[in-house]
Structure formats: structure tokens, C-alpha cells
């Protein structure tokens, strides 16, 4: 993966997730950050920090991004979510507009 196509998502614990830009753009919030005409620091460095989102949740979110892309191109799998994660996942998803 070339560096220009990827973006780094950092959780509250400091874990870094490197994902494709296209996948990260599934989140409307991240899309706005990366494409807005202003100069967000995120855009310049290609990294976004989420101090409120924990690692497990952020990992799940990244999995969702890829699942979303697959679903949109036709593959109709189910996205598994562990019930314990759902509450925080819901709030994070709400924040990320995804």
C-alpha cells in the first residue's frame, strides 16, 4: 500500500491503524476532515486521533469500513458484532457519521 493512499487512525490507547483512504472515507466525519478545503492538521499528516474511542472499538470500525466497501459492490455477507461492544460502537459510529 502506497503511503498516499492510506491514512492512520489512532485510538485513545495510542494504537495506530493504517487503512486505505477509500475505506476511511466511509465515515463522513473522516471524509470531511480529509477533503475539506481548509487545512486540518489531519490532512497534512495523514493521521487522525480519536481520544474517546478505544482500541477494540476502533478495530471494529476499521473492519466495518472494509465490509461496507464489499457490501456496496455486491457481496452480501453479514457483519458480526459482539453484543458487548454494541453500546460503545453505536456511540462511536454516531460520532463518525458512519
Amino acid at each position: 500500500m502506497k503511503k498516499e493512499d492510506t491514512v492512520k487512525l489512532i485510538s485513545s490507547d495510542g494504537f495506530e491503524f493504517v487503512v486505505d483512504k477509500e475505506a476511511a472515507m466511509v465515515s463522513q466525519t473522516i471524509r470531511n476532515m480529509l477533503t475539506s478545503p481548509g487545512s486540518f492538521a489531519e490532512r497534512q499528516h495523514g493521521e487522525v486521533t480519536f481520544p474517546e474511542i478505544s482500541t477494540t472499538i476502533l478495530e471494529k470500525i476499521c473492519q466495518y469500513f472494509y465490509w461496507h466497501l464489499e457490501f456496496a459492490s455486491g457481496k452480501d455477507r453479514e457483519f458480526p458484532i459482539e453484543p458487548e461492544l454494541t453500546l460503545e460502537l453505536m456511540m462511536a459510529a454516531n460520532y463518525l457519521h458512519t
Binding site: H68, A72, P83, L85, L87, A93, N94
Partner: protein, 661 residues
Amino acid sequence: MVENNQSNQNTKPITPNPTPFPHEPFLKRGIQEHDTGAHYMPLLPLQSHASSSSSKRTRLYNFDDKSYHPNFDPKGKKPITDDNNIIIISDTDSDDGGDEKQKKEITENQIPLALDTNAYNIDSESDDTNDDTDDDDDDDDDDDYSTDDETPRNKYKIQINQYEYEEWRRLWHNRMYRDSAKRYVPRYNIPFGATITYVPRTKYENCGSPTPFSEAMEVIQKRVLKCKLDDCFDELPTWFPKRNYGEELVLERSSVPSLQELSLNILAKHADAIVSLDGVSDELQQKLCKLVCDYRKMKGHFLELFLREFPTEVRIKDCSWMTEEEFTKYFGRLDPSILEVIQLDQCGRIITDDTLLVTLARSPNSLARLISLSLSGACRLTDKGLQSLVSSATALRSLNLSQCSLLTFPSLNILADSLGSLLKELYLDDCILIDATKILSALKRLKQLEVLSLAGVSTVSDEFIKDYIIACGHNIKELVLMDCVNLTDASMKVIAEHCPGLHALNLMNLNKLTDLSLEYLANFSQALRTLKLRRNPFSDEAVAAFLEISGKSLEELSLNSIKKVGLQTTLSLEDLAKNLHTLDLSWCRNLTDNELGFIVDNCLSLRLLKLFGCSQITDVFLKGHSNSKVQIIGLRLSPLLQHMEGPNPRQGVLRYSSVSQ
């Protein structure tokens, strides 16, 4: 007309085969697949039907309203034609001054055809015994059926043009098509005692000024005739599905389920395991609450968690699980003065006069901030309980008392006394003890009322509507009159003329309405956004004409069980319904894959299409249409609750105004 014909040497009435009319009643059958030939456009009001008793034959039509069809003059005062050659079927008795003119214009070309049906005996119809009668005999047959001057005839004229006449004659006399002809005659709506004469071009005269609806109807009628003339059944070119078979639609981004939805669903299914809702935003809490109700997981546990977060809106769609003790426990503890919206539907078990006093209506101002209250299903609530509620909720703007079956008409006085200048929305569905005539004065005192629902209140009558709407119609934006079966076209006329701001109208199950209603609504209410029809006896052409005029503004349309909807409606829909997002065509069995394909591919705003009961639709349409945003429900199994409307967070609490007004 028979007498006039006999006095005119050139004319000789030709009577058809003496077994003309079938046993089956005229209008009880719809269009069948094997029908051939023309789709004649009957130009008469739809109230025509044959009946077996001769006394009913005379007065079959409602002539009071000339504005229905400007070409139609039952008194026969003016010659009525259009620019094509037409045939006028008129009655002998209706020959007043008009017929003088007609007689002058009758030329040698006239081929009159007298259809004297009064003399026919339906019971004597037999299929095969009259084979010997053919064209030559028809002239003689007429002598046998002498016209009886004293028999009252119907006073009207039917127009058909030359082509239809030829077609009709051909069918009539052609033995092979005798059965078809018999079927076409009822569709033709030739009533008993009518005579048909052919009159070449005469001057067109309009009875009344052309209204938008009548002009649209003419356009549609020409469309029907043109389609018939070209001998094509389907004016629509065949719709070809744009997708290859088996290829799935590339879904839009918005139709992929979002992570939020997915996690909400799972969370709702496991509602029992939630420990706390702390930190969840209000909007999410509301959505969660709705989903928990839908999944039937709403129990005290979740409710307690929910109420612990001091929500300002409590919406529980189904309170049937709650007992009185639970209700008094949970709602007794919370402070109701912060609540702005309360929805406790199906609350028959919990809402009584006493429980209210302990929980919601505990003090004269305990619901001081309440804007919207819904207690549908509160079947134990009496007028007294309502009084205590209303005295606590002094700022109430929207009140839903559907299915509160113990309420009587004094409750309206209670409402008008304290909320007369505030109440904007009132729902009284199925409050069967409320007599509409007695609540009229109280309703008129609700000066700000925008939404009124009287669904199921069968005492609503034309006089009530007339009285109320003329007084208060200028404010009304939404009117629900479903199941008020005593209403007729007269009410629709009043509504159309006096409700300029009408956005939404629900006329489901009103089976006394005719195409006249659509005409009134089209001519006056051109800003209608939501129209809900079900089982109304409207014709395809009238619906199409209505859509031609009002289709641009429509956002939600229900044509559920309007049996005759078919080709014409499709043509109007695909041209005009650009704003339409919800369409219900359930039980419209005259629609085929072809027509639905055109609708769905051309109405690009369409998001929801309901097709319950349309088993004639096949995968050719379902897998072939190319509209990726529309959801089609009713044909394959799909979860239904997700299609029901929830509160829109972007819309305010009230449907048509903001709260501050």
C-alpha cells in the same frame, strides 16, 4: 328519439339483436384479459348501472352537477358534439329546443341506431336461439318493440364518435363477437331506453367553463381513443428491464446499512443486558427506545434506564406490557415537568383517571412544558380524567386521543375551554361515543387547529363537514376522514374550496365518493402533498387527470385497492410525479410489470413502493428495474417495521408549525 326518427324519412332506427344485455350487472366486472377491441370511454358519470327493476331505470344519473362534464347536457338544449363526427344518443323525451337544431343538421348520411332496450326482457335472453336475426331483420325487429310514450325514458345523451360507433356495430352484429359485444355494451354504459343516433359535425358548445380537470380529462380521453384507434392496447412501449438477469444493482452508499444502524439493532435485541444509558445522546436514546419497542424487548428494566437519563421525550409505541403498578412506580418517580413529548400508545391498561392523578397530572402545572401528548388506546379514560390532564398540561399543542372509547362530546368542550387558542393537532380516531354533530361548536372554538383526524367516527356527515370546514377550513393543513363512510362528493367540494392550505388528505374507505371528488380536489387543491386513497370507486381516467393537475406537488400517494388503476394512471405518474417518495399500489391488479417498470424507472425520487397483493408482478420487474434507491415491500418477505415512520429528528414536534407559535 324514435318518434323523431320516424318522422324523418331518411332515418330508420336499426335495432340490434334482441338479446342485448347480459345478466351480469354492468359495472361489476373489471377489464378482463381476453377483452378485445376498443376501450370505449364512457363519457357519463360512473353512477350508471343497470338494475333489473324498471322503476330504477329511469333516474340513473345525477344531473344536478353540470360542471362535471361540460359536453354533457341532459336537457338537450344545445347540440353537443366535438370536432370529430360524433354520435349522439339521446332520448325521445329530452327533445326540447336542442333537438330542433339537431334535426336540421341531420343529413342524409345519418345512420341512426335506435336501441330500445326498455322493451327487452332480460330474462328472455338466450344465446343461440336468435341466430336467424341478422342485419336485415333488425329493421323489422324494431316494429315489434313499439315505443311506449308513457314509459319514462332516461334523459341524457351519450356521445360516441364515428369510429366507436362503427366498432360497436361491427361487434354487435358479428356473431362471433356477440359475447364480447354483450360485455362491451355495459362498459359503454348505454342505459335502458336510450337511443343512439349519428349526427355529423355540429358546433361545439360548452356548458360550463372548462376547468383544469375537465381539460385534463379530455386529454386523457383522447389518449384512450387514440390508443384504441391505432388498435394498440398498450400505449406504453414495452419496458425493457435495464438490468441483465441476475445482475444485482450497484447499491448507493445510502443503502448500505450503517454501523450505527447495525449496532442499534443488536443493542435493541439485547436490551436486557444494557447496564446504563449514560453518555448516549438523546437522539440515539430515542432511536433505541423505538427499536426496543419494535423488538418487543421493552420491559421495565429498559424503561427505568431510559427514564434515569431525564429524557424530555418519552415515546413508547406499545405500553401493553405495563401494569398499573409499574406505571405508577416509574412515572410516579420521575418529574413530569421536564417532559415535552409523551407518547404512551396502547395504554388501555395503565391510563385511568386515578393513575393519571398520581403520575402525570399530579398538580395543576405538572405538565407545564408538555407540547405533544398521545394516549391512543386509553380505553379507560373518561371525561373526568381528561379534565385533570388538560388542567395540568396548559401548553399542549398536539393531542392524540385515538381509540379512547369512553370519551363523549363534553370532552371536546373541556378541550376547547382550556386549549382553544393553543391546540394545533387533534386526533379523535375511533372515539365511537363522540357524536360529530354535537362537537361542532366546540371544534370551531379550537381556533388554531391544523390537523384534525376523525377517522372511524361514523357520525361525521356531509353537513358536519360543510359547517366545520366553511368556518375553520382556512387553517386546516391535514384532514383524516378515513372510514367516515357517510361522506359524499359534496363534502369534497366544500373541502376543496375552503381549505387552501391543505397538505394532506386521507380518504380511505370512503366508498360513496365518485370521480367528481377527484375533480373538485384537482381544480382547487393544487398544493396537496399527501393523498391517501383506499377502496374508493375512482376510475383510471379520473385518477390520471387528477395526477396531471396535482401530481407535481405530491410526495406521498396511496392508491391502495383502487381497482381500476391502470394504464392512464401510469402514464400520468411517470410524467409528473417528480417529488413522489412514497407510493402505495397494493391490490391494483390491473398493473403489470410493464407499467410498474415505467413508474419506478421514471419516478426518480421514489423511495418506497408498496405492492401488497400484486401477485401479478413477477421477477421481470423486481429484478429488472434500475432504480437503486427504491424499496419495494409487499411482494417478498421483508421486515416491515423498519418502514414505519418514526419521529424525524429534523422535524419539530408538531407536524406543520414550530412550537413557539
